[in-house]
C-alpha cells in the first residue's frame, strides 16, 4: 500500500498537479510515525503508511492552503469529516488540496499492546488481521481487533466524505460500527457522585500540555480564547485558576456541533484521559435533542449551535429526564 501511495505522490509532484505532499514519515520507533511535509520526490523515501498512521492530517491544511500551489494530502475516511468541517468554516481552501482517500483497517494502539504484556517493543508488523510484536521480553501476536484504538471500535465507516481520488485499499462500502455511545451511556447511568468521581479521577491527571488542543482539527482558532487576554480567561493575564480548571469543559463546548468525533484528542493525551467522551456526550445530546447530525458530513448544513427550531426542548429536560 505504502509503495502505491509513494508512486502516486511522485507522479503528482512530477506532473505539477501538486507542489508538496502532506503525509506521514517514519519515526524513531516502529510505532510512532509522524505527520510530515514532503517537497521533493526524493524525500518521499521516508514516507510511511501503516496502522500507526492514526494522525489526522486535515488540520495541517489550514496553514498549507495559505501557500502557493496545491498540496497533496492523504486522508483516512474519518479524517475527511474534519477536512469538510474546516471547509465549512472557511479555514481550508478546497481548491488548494488534492486529496487521496486512503483506506483504513483501524489505527493500532501501542498502549493496548503494552497493556497486554508486550514489553520492550522493538518491531511491530501487520499481516491482515494479525499483528506481531517483536519485543525484548518475549514476542507477542495479537488479533488486530484487540489492539486498535477505542475510536476505531466505533468507526464511522469506510466512506470518504471528500476526495479527488481513492487509493486501491479504500473501501467505501465498509459499514459503520455500532456502540459509539456505549461508553457515554455507561457514565450517564452512574449516580452524580460517581460521575463526579469518575471525571475527577480523569481530569485531575491533566498536565495542561495542550496536546489535545494542538491536535484537534476543530480547535483551530488562530488564537485560543485561553490565550486571549481581552477575555479575562487566560491564566497568564489574570492570576487565577479559571483556565486551569475549566479548560476541558469550555474546550468541549467550543467544539460542540463542530467536533467530528475523530478521537485525536484522546489518542495524543499523554495521560490517557478519555477526552473524546466529553465531545461524544455533546454529539449524543445533539442527536437526541435536535436530530441526528454529523459534523463534516457536508460543507453547507447549519451547525446545531448556530441553528434552532421554535419547538426545541427546554433546558429543564436535563432535570426532567433525571
Amino acid at each position: 500500500m505504502q509503495e502505491e501511495l509513494i508512486r502516486r505522490a511522485k507522479e503528482l509532484l512530477g506532473d505539477g498537479t501538486v507542489v508538496r505532499v502532506m503525509g506521514w514519515r517514519k519515526g524513531d520507533l516502529s510505532f510512532n510515525p509522524e505527520p510530515a511535509l514532503f517537497e521533493t520526490e526524493e524525500s518521499l523515501a521516508e514516507f510511511v503508511y501503516d496502522g500507526f498512521c492514526g494522525a489526522n492530517l486535515s488540520k495541517y491544511m489550514i496553514k498549507l492552503s495559505k501557500l502557493e500551489g496545491k498540496t497533496l494530502v492523504f486522508l483516512k475516511p474519518c479524517d475527511t469529516y474534519s477536512f469538510n468541517q474546516l471547509v465549512k468554516e472557511h479555514r481550508v481552501d478546497r481548491e488548494k488540496a488534492y486529496i487521496i482517500g486512503v483506506g483504513c483497517d483501524g489505527s493500532l494502539d501501542v498502549d493496548a499492546m503494552k497493556e497486554k504484556g508486550a514489553k520492550g517493543i522493538q518491531e511491530i508488523t501487520e499481516d491482515g488481521d494479525t499483528v506481531t510484536v517483536r519485543a525484548i521480553y518475549g514476542d507477542k501476536t495479537f488479533d488486530r481487533e484487540d489492539v486498535i484504538l477505542e475510536r476505531c471500535r466505533a468507526c464511522k465507516g469506510g466512506a470518504h466524505m471528500v476526495y479527488d481520488e481513492l487509493a486501491s485499499n479504500a473501501d467505501e462500502e465498509k459499514p459503520a460500527r455500532d456502540g459509539r455511545f456505549s461508553l457515554v451511556e455507561k457514565i450517564e447511568v452512574m449516580d452524580p457522585k460517581e460521575r463526579f468521581a469518575f471525571w475527577q479521577n480523569e481530569l485531575s491527571r491533566c498536565i495542561r500540555c495542550n496536546a489535545c488542543r494542538n491536535v484537534c482539527p476543530a480547535c483551530s482558532c488562530i488564537k485560543c480564547v485561553f490565550d486571549n487576554d481581552r477575555y479575562d480567561t487566560a491564566q497568564k493575564a489574570n492570576a487565577d485558576t479559571f483556565e486551569e480548571q475549566m479548560f476541558h469543559i469550555i474546550r468541549a463546548f467550543h467544539v460542540a456541533g463542530r467536533c467530528t468525533d475523530c478521537g485525536e484528542c484522546s489518542r495524543v493525551c499523554p495521560e490517557h484521559i478519555p477526552l473524546h467522551l466529553l465531545n461524544r456526550k455533546f454529539i449524543k445530546d445533539i442527536n437526541t435533542f435536535y436530530g441526528d447530525y454529523q459534523a463534516g458530513a457536508d460543507t453547507d448544513s447549519r451547525a446545531p449551535l448556530t441553528n434552532f427550531t421554535t419547538e426545541d426542548v427546554e433546558p429543564s429536560i436535563v432535570q426532567e429526564r433525571g
Binding site: C224, R230, Y231, D232
Partner: protein, 662 residues
Amino acid sequence: MQRIGVFVCHCGTNIAGTVDVKRVVEAVKKEPGVVYAEDYQYMCSEAGQQKIADAVKNEHLTGIVICSCSPRMHEGTFRKAAEKAGLNPYLVEIANIREQCSWIHKDMEEGTEKAVILARAAIAKVMLNAPLQPGESRVVKRALVIGGGIAGIQTALDIADAGYEVDIVEKTPSIGGRMSQLDKTFPTLDCSSCILTPKMGEVNAHEKINIYTYSEVEKVSGFVGDFSVDIRKKARYVDMDKCTGCGLCQEKCPSRKTPNEFNRGLNTRPAIYTPFAQAVPNVPVIDTEACIKFKTGKCGVCSKVCAAGAIDYTQKDEIITREYGAIVVATGFDTINLDKFDEYYYNQSKDVITALELERLMNAAGPTGGNVVRLSNGEHPKNIVFIQCVGSRDVTCRGKSYCSKICCMYTAKQAMLLKDHYPDVDVHVFYIDVRTPGKNFDEFYRRAVEEYDVDYIKGQVGKVSEAENGRLLVQGVDLIDNRQIKMEADLVVLATAIEPNKDVRKIATMLTASIDNNNFLTEAHPKLRPVESPTAGIFLSGVCQGPKDIPETVAQAGAAAIKVVGLLAKDKLVTNPCTAQSNPLFCNGCSACEKVCPYGAISYEEQQVMDGGVRENRRVAVVNSALCQGCGACTVACPSGAMDLKGFSNRQILAEVDAICR
C-alpha cells in the same frame, strides 16, 4: 489609573428605609479604584445631578457608579448628567438597589449587604467601561400603519396632515374596522357610520395616504428610522383600476351561502363581495373558497356581467417591499370565543347573541334591516336580558382577567335604544359593577335607568336554558334583594369580553415588540410613554394596547401620530453605541457569528492582518454598527473570543460575576 466615584441615592425612604446608605458609602470607599463616595436624598434631582458634576470636576473622575433605582428608569438621566460634566456618558454604571434590593427585602442588614455587593459589581464593571460614541442612522420619511380601523385611520390622517407619507395595511377587503359594524355610539348616540364614513373618504382621497386593503404584513426587518417591510397584497381577482363598484357581480353571484363576516355570521354573502355598502375601496374581492369558478372551473358569471371587464381570475398575490421610518400597530380587537361558556346557551340558541351581533341587528343596513327580532322565529322580543362581564374579569382558564371597559357603556346604549325603538319591551341588565368613568358617561347610564326604566339587577346569571314555552329561562341572582331569579326571556345579550386581534402575536414577533400575557402590546412606560412600544420606532394605537372606547382610541391615535411625526421630523437618529465588534487578530473567519445574527449585520472581508510581526491576508468578520442592535448572540457563537460587545464586554460581565462571587 481609574478614579471612580460612587453615589448612593436614598430615594427618600424608598432605599434608605431598608438599606443603610451610609454603610454602603463606607464599604464602597474601600474598593480599589474608588476615590470618592457620597450619599444623597434624591440623586436624580437637579441638586443630585449637580453633586455628580462637581465630583467629576473636583475629583477628576474617570467613571461613576450610581446606586439607585433601575437603570431602566434613570440611566438616561445620569448619562446626560455625566456628559454635561464632561465625562463620556457610557462611563456610567447603575447599581439597582431599589427595585432589586430595598423594595423586596425587609431586613436592613440583608438589604445593606446586598446593596454593597451590587455596588461592587457595578464598580468592577465600570472599571472596564470604555468611552463610546453613538453613531448615526437615516430616517425614512414614511410611516406604516398596520390596521385600518378607526385607530389606524386617525393615526394615518394625523401623520399625513403633518406632511408625511403614510401607508395603511388592512387585512380585510375594506378599511373601517369594528367601528363600521356599530350602529350608534355612546354617549351622544350619533350614528357610527355617519361619523366614520367621512373619515374613510378622507383617508381614501388624501394624497399622502396609500391604502393596501386585503393585504398583510409578511416580514419586517431593519430598525427605528429604517425598517424594510414586505407586504403581501392578496389577489382580489378584481382589477382595482377597472372596477366601477356597480355591485352587479355581487348581485348575480350564484354562490351565496358563505357566512357574512361583517354581520358576524347572522346572514350570508356571495363569493364575490364587498363587506359593506360604504366599503373603501368600493371594489369587491373573490373568496376563492366559496367561488364556484375556483372550485369547479365552471361558472364565471361575475366576469360575464362585469361591463368594465374588471374580473381577472388569473391575479396572483403580490409582495410589495417598502421602507418606513416608523410603524404604528393598530390591529384592534375581536370578541372572545364563547365555546367554554355553554351555561349561557350561546352555541345552543339563536336567541342568545353577543352585543356586537345586536349592533348588526339594530343597524338599518344589517341582516334584519334594523329590526330587532328573535333569530329563532323572527318575532319581536318582549323581554330582553343583558348579561355583563361574560369572560371579562375572569381569572380562570375560561376568560380574561381584565375589564373589557366598553361593555358597561354600550350595554346602557343598547338598552336605551331598544326601549326607545320598542317601548313595550322589558330590559334587564345583570351586572357586577357599572363602570362609567368618562365625560357624561355616568349621566348616560343613569338616563337608561331613570328615563328609560331599564332594570339594572346587581347580580349575575348562573345559567340560561330553554323554557317549556320555547322562550329562554334565565336563572340569576339579585344580590341586593338576596333572591334567586328565574326569569323567562326572548333575547339574551352577552357583553362578551374583547381580546386583541388574533394576528397581533405574529405581528408583534415580526416587529420584536413586546406583548403581555393577554396579547396586548406593551407600552414603553404605562404612564409616561403610553403610545410607544419599548422597541424603538414601533408605536401603538387603539385596542391593540388595551381595551378602550372610540374617543379614547381617537385620542391615542393622535398621540401615536405625533410621536411618529416627531421621529420622522428628524434627519438623523443617534444609534446605540453598544454594538458588537470583531478583533481581526483573533477572528478565524469561521462564519459562526454571521449565522446567528438576526440583523444581517455581519459580513466578511479579506483583510491584511499584522500578527506577531507576520503580515497575512485573512478572512475576518466585520460588523455594520448601523445594523447591529447589540444582542450579543455572535459573541457566544465565536469560539475564539474575537467578537465582543461594547458596553457588555466579556471582561465586564466576568468582572461582575467575580465581584458578586467574591
